[in-house]
């Protein structure tokens, strides 16, 4: 219909050992809303970061406004009229709206001092806010704005640089329904003014309602494109899946035993209006799948006592347990291998030995004095059992590789008596060899009667390692799959909040 405004051709980005983007082609027309979808890790964010000039592509050409670029800088991207409304909003909460819109290109008053001219900036921002239908003024402190309003500030910022393409990365992930509708209206208005929008979202319903065209990424490749009249949930999901998954599965040595951990009616602060019900048996690995931000980590943190439990009950072997802090959880045998091992799993500057015994130190002490011999023995046992590659247990954890650091975190818990273990993205950033060691370890723990919950965004891992898979969507469990129901398609359907295959059978 209209002229092509922006064209990406043959964009690749390789990191050592990973191909994040592989020969991606994408074009955006003037005044078009382009939906960009794909699973976690399909390469959407990387692609957009290439476009915004944050990442340099390994190969490929970006054509915009008649110019060709092999790479962009942030400044160039801005000059070309590409604006980014970030997933995590990048605003300075301590400054007002006008200052945020003009950050880095402040209007200065004349005179020798070149002071910032607030009046001019506010006057410039006012019409932008009116155009977006915002009901706050340019001198409002961003700290006092809601998430939706902050997004309007980001969009105003984009308008202020005369953006021709606005990239929105999961813009509605923390908006209410009415705020989402408001945003979709704004997008329609932008479109009417000839501004293009690249709309990245996991919410297929929104894509359906606003996109003129949808491009699907999978494993860093463009795998399909759907025109407006071809859009349907089923069509989109079918394009998003379809990787061949390696067989990783090791069946349990014996059937799951009764008992285990029941999470009943639990409400976390991340989703105060949703309840989570989930059960994991002893001897079982329960995969917990879902899109990023579906509330899986919040659930694990709440069960482990890091965040407050707003409501609900946790039962172990059918006995309710009160958990108010990680200390309580650990006393009950509930352990968490956290997502960010450097921040929450390890004290990096302490040696392996002290990290391994950090949680159980009182057990290796007499009269509060640490028994050095016992401590060293425990640490060495764990290092041997987990084959941690280090010259000695006295070297600092910071010098280890990611996989070995994760093993130290595991060693901390395995030196105690786990009953329920949460693994949050246990193999993120870990090489393949260490990955399969960790899978084998989870299986052997399960076979010893530990109930295991594995949070993972890696589809291969979820389907390949779990005995059952529970899928979370927007703060609650949208479905549980048994092994014979395992498929990428089913997991993804549940993850985007669709019901299971009965409807699907009718649709196809």
């Amino acid at each position: 219909m209209a002229e092509t405004l922006l064209e990406l051709s043959g964009i690749s980005k390789t990191y050592p050992g990973v191909r994040a983007l592989d020969d991606v082609n994408l074009n955006v027309c003037r005044g078009e809303v382009l939906g960009l979808i794909g699973e976690n890790g399909a390469g959407k964010s990387t692609l957009m970061r290439v476009l915004a000039g944050v990442i340099e592509p390994s190969a490929g050409v970006i054509r915009i406004g008649g110019n060709e670029h092999t790479r962009m800088t942030v400044t160039e991207a801005t000059q070309c009229g590409i604006a980014f409304v970030h997933q995590e909003l990048n605003l300075f909460e301590n400054l007002d709206v006008a200052a945020n819109v003009f950050i880095g290109r402040e209007k200065l008053a004349g005179g020798p001092l070149k002071l910032v001219d607030n009046a001019v900036m506010r006057a410039r921002v006012m019409p932008l806010l009116q155009r977006l239908g915002a009901d706050f003024t340019p001198n409002t402190l961003v700290d006092n704005l809601s998430i939706a309003e902050r997004q309007m500030v980001e969009i105003a910022k984009a308008l202020s640089i005369d953006a021709r393409v606005i990239i929105m990365d999961e813009p509605t992930s923390s908006l209410t329904i009415s705020e989402t509708e408001r945003l979709l209206e704004v997008i329609a208005d932008l479109k009417a003014h000839g501004i293009s929008v690249i709309y990245i979202s996991h919410r297929l319903g929104e894509i359906m309602s606003c996109a003129d065209r949808v491009v699907v990424l999978r494993d860093g490749r463009t795998v399909g494109e759907l025109a407006r009249d071809e859009l349907s949930h089923a069509a989109m999901i079918r394009l998003m899946i379809g990787r061949d998954l390696k067989a990783l599965y090791t069946p349990p040595a014996c059937a799951p035993q009764p008992g285990g951990c029941d999470i009943a009616g639990v409400v976390t602060s991340a989703f105060p209006d949703r309840q989570v019900n989930l059960s994991v048996r002893r001897g079982e690995i329960l995969g917990l799948a879902g899109l990023v931000g579906a509330g899986r980590t919040s659930l694990a943190r709440a069960v482990f006592g890091v965040d407050a439990l707003l409501a609900g009950e946790i039962r172990i072997d059918n006995a309710p347990v009160g958990i108010g802090s990680p200390r309580d959880a650990i006393r009950q045998g509930i352990y968490l291998v956290p997502e960010d091992r450097k921040k929450s799993g390890l004290v990096l500057e302490l040696p392996i030995r002290e990290n391994v015994t950090l949680a159980s130190l009182l057990d290796h002490a007499r009269m509060w004095l640490v028994n050095g011999t016992a401590e060293r023995k425990i640490a060495k046992d764990q290092a041997r059992r987990l084959s941690i590659k280090a010259p000695s247990v006295d070297i600092e954890a910071v010098t280890l590789s990611g996989g070995n650091q994760q093993k130290v975190v595991l060693g901390k818990w395995l030196s105690m008596q786990p009953r329920v273990m949460f693994f949050d993205e246990p193999t993120r950033g870990i090489d393949v060899g260490a990955k399969s060691e960790i899978y084998a370890l989870m299986r052997s723990l399960a076979d010893q009667g530990v109930a295991i919950v594995m949070i993972s965004s890696d589809m291969e891992e979820v389907i390949g390692v779990s005995d059952r898979v529970a899928v979370m969507h927007e703060g609650s469990v949208s479905g549980v799959l048994e092994r014979d129901q395992f498929s990428e398609y089913n997991v993804l359907r549940l993850a985007v909040g669709q019901a299971l295959e009965i409807q699907e059978a009718a649709a196809s």
Binding site: R327, I330, L348, L361, K389, G433, R443
Partner: protein
Amino acid sequence: MMKKELGLFLLLAVISAITGAINPAFLSFVNLLNMANLIGLFGVFALGEGLVIITGGIDLSLGSMFALLGVVFIDLLTTYQVPWPFALLLVLLGGLGLGGIQGFLITRLKMQPFIVTLCGLLIYRGAARYYTSDSTRGFGYGDEASTLSNIASGNVAGIPNTFIFLIVLALILGVLLHRSVYGRWLYAVGKNEEAARFSGINTNLVIATAYVISGVLAGVSTVMFVFYTNSVSPSSFGNFYELYAIAAAVLGGCSLRGGEGSILGIVLGTALLQVLQNLVNILGIPNSLNFAVMGTVILIGVLADQQLQARRRRKAALAGLARTAPKKDSTILQNAASRGAALPTTTGDQA
């Protein structure tokens, strides 16, 4: 770990030797005993400050605490004629209480240590001055607490009791910090509070305890200083002393970011500071340069230490790299092996 202390000790020895060579009076018995007494007086509360700094916090209120507890202590003994063991106990409890309140505000109400203890500094000083109407309190001609006075300012075989007390205290705290579970927790909390909490450590309690210990030691120091000066002028007693403590701790290897430092280091840091002060007098350097000399030495000391540490870290990183580099080859082998092993049922052998 011990390298830092060894370096500090050598610095102390070299400075002492040079000063002694220039003016032998520095190494005279009287001067050494005088310095030992001062090291004892200043070391006790520096140790408490050190524990607080290891948590990543700071205690600015010590000097004012001395003034407040000092006037109360003297008043208890003279005006109220309270027997000295009770007065001593009350002062220690006072220090414990003030430390407890600060610890509570910092851990429970999540206030910044700098602000809490800065307000402590202002409040305690003000309270002390108001309580005494800004007048100096001292002992009369009676011997209200001669026993305690003899203990606090006496000596054993010429060695000042304050110094002996410091050594005993350092031994106890050394065991607490370097050998006990609490000490390990303190370092862990100071380095990474979140990871400590994720390991089930009651981080709030660990931090608050450090402030309580610091408060109690401030109570002990109060009593020692009161018998050292025999009077308390509420507006000047203990002024700036918290800065001496912070300086000693930092010089002794504590990082204000937390998680670093040792008892031996803090004692050596205190000793070095007192030697510097003494050296200014002995070498005839104008007394007004006192603080400037101290500041310069701390600045150079911390700078040198940082450079050495950066070098050590680079070395460690290189060593780590060398360890992981050959692993790249073996991962592939291992990967193939473990993938083969992952398919059939090989589960029991890991148990």
